[in-house]
């Protein structure tokens, strides 16, 4: 898939409380979560972000709580892709499960407002603004299959259908 968008850059160790603070977790509606996405890291993010924009960050993005509200809020903001030097384990897993694309790459050369062109299949990240290309770590085969299956729930629905047919 080819994606083109503008970057919102964040620091190291962006925790899930910064992505979606717990004070908003009395509701899991994606639209309500979107309104507070990244609020404790950048209070203006929700009002500035446009569909197709990217989030880039340093190490350990999404650390802390297991709340799936975090990738849901990002996805609901119209952000199709997060690029970080590394991701915390549960956030990584949740993103694949719900179909939010994430890539691990060196983000040092990427700044806010940079425009990137990303070939997600090749893991190629072209920084159009700076004319620099970086490459993401390959996505493990299982995870890539999960994404192409449409996420874990789509996989689950297919499984029910398949097992139902086997029983017939």
């Amino acid at each position: 898939m080819l994606l083109k968008g503008k970057v919102f850059k964040f620091a190291d160790n962006i925790d899930t409380d910064a992505i979606i603070p717990a004070r908003y977790l009395n509701d899991s509606d994606p639209e309500n979560l979107r309104k507070h996405c990244m609020e404790d890291a950048d209070p203006s993010f929700a009002s500035k972000v446009n569909k197709g924009d990217f989030i880039a960050a340093g190490v350990n993005f999404g650390c802390g709580s297991s709340r799936e509200h975090a990738p849901i809020a990002i996805k609901a903001s119209g952000v199709p892709l997060v690029i970080a030097k590394s991701f915390a384990r549960i956030f990584y897993r949740n993103s694949f499960n719900i179909g939010l694309l994430i890539l691990e790459a060196d983000t040092d050369s990427i700044d806010s407002e940079d425009v990137l062109e990303v070939d997600t299949d090749k893991g190629e990240i072209k920084n159009i603004t700076k004319n620099i290309t970086v490459y993401a770590k390959p996505i493990p085969k299982f995870m890539a299959e999960l994404v192409s299956a449409g996420g874990l729930m789509e996989h689950a629905r297919k499984r029910v259908k398949k097992e139902g047919e086997l029983k017939k």
């Binding site: 160790n13 409380d17 977790l25 899991s28 404790d40 650390c63 874990l152 689950a156």
Partner: protein, 424 residues
Amino acid sequence: MSNPLTITEKIILAHTDLESCSPGDIVSARVDIALGNDITAPIAIREFDTIGVCDVFDNEKIALVPDHFVPNKDIASAKQAKTLREFAKKYNIKYYFESGEVGIEHALLPEQGIVLPGDLVIGADSHTCTYGALGAFSTGVGSTDLAYAMAFGEAWLKIPYSIKVVFDGKPNKWVSGKDLILFLIGKIGVEGANYMALEFSGTTFKYLTMADRFSISNMAIEAGAKSGIFEPDEITEEYVSKRAKRDYTIYKSDPDAQYLKTLKYDTVKINPQVAFPHLPENSVDVKEASAKNIKIDQSVIGSCTNGRIEDLRIAASILKGKKIAKYTRLIVIPATPEIYLMAEKEGLIDIFMNAGGVVSTPTCGPCLGGYMGILADGEKAISSTNRNFKGRMGDITSEVYLANPAVCAASAITGKISSPDEVA
């Protein structure tokens, strides 16, 4: 002969149809317990309803624990709790807890003998790693994973590499499991064990209780770890044997099992720790913290990390006959109803209240900035909880310092971050 395995590899392998496994392999594993709470389960239930199964995989292997925002803090959280209740009713979920039965999930499940050694547990809560203290493999996942597990009884897992962490020697006075884990996170950092299993061992643990082990396993996630496990021993057996209502299996690592690395620490050199804002890795010796004269507005003693009876006893031993500092709040939260009743019988509740503190019903409440003790702008709290991220307990400009219950109790008395030695 199969290759030598760690306890983590053995437990995961035993929950698959495979004959061997290696770190890095992705497997589908059968779960013994799938756990959700009032924040994560509503999403899981919404997703579960789209899968198309007519029942849960096993109504005796799902635990739904409304603990984060209960008793309901507002209308929206009441709706979330209601979602759990209705799902539990519809599918006759055995381990659903309500009102005077409900406690903080990671204290409640081991206490009630629901999670046992050798189990494979996934929970839609990052602190699900707590059950490693029992010699179980348990890890935090998201709501979608919980939905999948509730439908099929399975979860996909990457077999983690293991890091062995050895603490040897007798702990100093006031040093608890909390201090050892804060010390370790200070050494390896909040990403130091990302994707990996921490396996704890060493002579130190003969001097400590199960409560200490729970605190340690609980905070494995704060180093990024997938799990934090102990091999069961006589201390585990003593805890588990009176609670278990079903068979369980004790696994131990093979002597020549492979570890990514081994870290060894001399416990005698470790003093109580205080983790400064805004990361759990910012841990320093309590004496160093005390010297900085940090005034606090609130002290919280509770949570899945440190809300057990042992924690309340040590806090009460410091607070007995004393008053907390003026303009300082002390909030004590027993983690389960059983702990609450024990504290009541032992006179601990009297001690907390006579000191000027308040005692809440079991809830995660202030730990995640939910309710029951939210901080205003610029306020500082010392807390026996597990995270001190920016804005974690309230306003974005407030600060959380993490410590053990003894340090939290001592600090409540002086009104500033203090070592228990300063008031005892």
